[in-house]
Structures are given as C-alpha cells and as structure tokens.
Subunit: 127 residues, 2 copies
C-alpha cells in the first residue's frame, strides 16, 4: 500500500508531538538528511536527528501546530508553530518523501524583525 | 481558459525580475493582501505592493532565483533567493491563487544564524 507523502509528513509531526523523539525514526529513511540552510548545519541519519531533538534545551514538552501544508508529488511543505510553553518559534519545512519515508528535510526558522519606518506609509500593522 | 496557480506564480516571479514592479499588478487580484508575519506588517492592494517594491532601498537591479516551488490546489509555495548584487536574502512565499490571480501572499524572510556548539557533536557544517 502506497502511503501518500502528505500522510507521512502528518505522521512525522504527530510523532514529534509525542516528545518521544525516537518514535520519529519510523517515518525517516535510512539515508535521511536534514539541513538548516541558515546556519549551514546538516544532520545525517535518523539516530542523530532523534538525539538532537532529545538534547535540545527545553522548559517543558514541545507542542507543534501545523498551520499550513502544501503537497505535490514527493514534496511536502509545512509551516508549523513550535512552543515549549516559554519559547515560541516558527518552522518552515521542505520534506522529500520517497517510498513512504522521509529522505530529506530542509528547514528554515524565521525570527521576528522590526517593521520598517521607510515603508510605514504603505502598510498596516497586524495585531 | 483556466491559468494554473503554478503558472500564475511563475509569472509573478518573472514580472518581479523585470524590476518594473508595476507590471506585477497584472497577476494580483483587486483584493490582494500581503503579510509579513515576522514584523506584523500587512500591505493591502496591488498599488501599495508595487510602490513598496519600487521604494525599497537597492544597490542595483534585483535578481530572483526560484529554488523550490510546490503547488497544490489554490496554494503555491516558493523558496526564492533574492539579490541586488550587494544584499542577498532568502524568501519563502505562501501564495493563494484564485481565478488566475494572486489574492494573498504570506511571506517569510529567514536570516542566517550561528551553528550551535551544544549540537556540534551531531552535525556537520555545510560549505
């Protein structure tokens, strides 16, 4: 039975949200690679990915909200809000899914920035 | 003739790359809204969007490289490299396309961050 890439990625986020990061390995391919282009960091393998998540400093259980998901062929993009109750961050994740497993993840973490005065006459400020 | 959302978004980037920002209005709906969640800025209307791009400080013509595009139904996501020859930035853009026009754009601008020492034993550094 072919598992659709979208379903694989939804399962990835469901498993991550258990905070049992070893469980996530069930949807990662043996050759899984994750890249964070902003820092130039690359993690190879499901074990290293699970360890990195498990060792990440936290104030409590991590919660994840999938705000957007767009899927086409082998490619799935999500925009997810992440929080441990103290820290809050946004992740944009580009997944490649092959044969029912995630083979690659390229992930971005955009940080807040100041609204700019030189375009204030053209914008409105959201809540 | 129905124009596919992916084609509309590719035309958006082609027109932006002309640096004639008024030309982009041809693919924007009357009710077009753009949001930058990182700064809480919202721009309403094609005219304000074109003006904001035209007034943005620049060292030269802006160039755009569409590195990734994922489309599903009315939704298209792109990851684009932007440069004026001096500045370089990455944009991740979530488009909504309806009736052949872009009605909404939610855009993120992730900045570089430092690779963290506390996970150095689990990662490799990319070039």
């Amino acid at each position: 039975m072919k598992v659709e890439p979208e379903a694989v990625v939804r399962e990835f986020w469901r498993l991550i949200a258990t905070n049992d990061f070893g469980s996530v390995k069930s949807v990662l391919a043996a050759e899984f690679v994750m890249e964070w282009p902003q820092s130039g960091e690359r993690i190879r393998g499901a074990d290293n990915f699970a360890r990195m998540n498990g060792e990440y400093p936290t104030q409590g259980a991590w919660q994840f909200t999938v705000n957007r998901l767009v899927a086409q062929g082998s490619f799935v993009v999500t925009q997810v809000s992440v929080s441990d109750g103290t820290l809050a961050a946004e992740a944009i994740s580009f997944f490649t899914v092959e044969r029912g497993e995630i083979t690659k993840l390229v992930e971005y973490w955009p940080e807040p920035f100041e609204a700019q005065a030189n375009r204030r006459h053209l914008v409105e400020l959201m809540e």
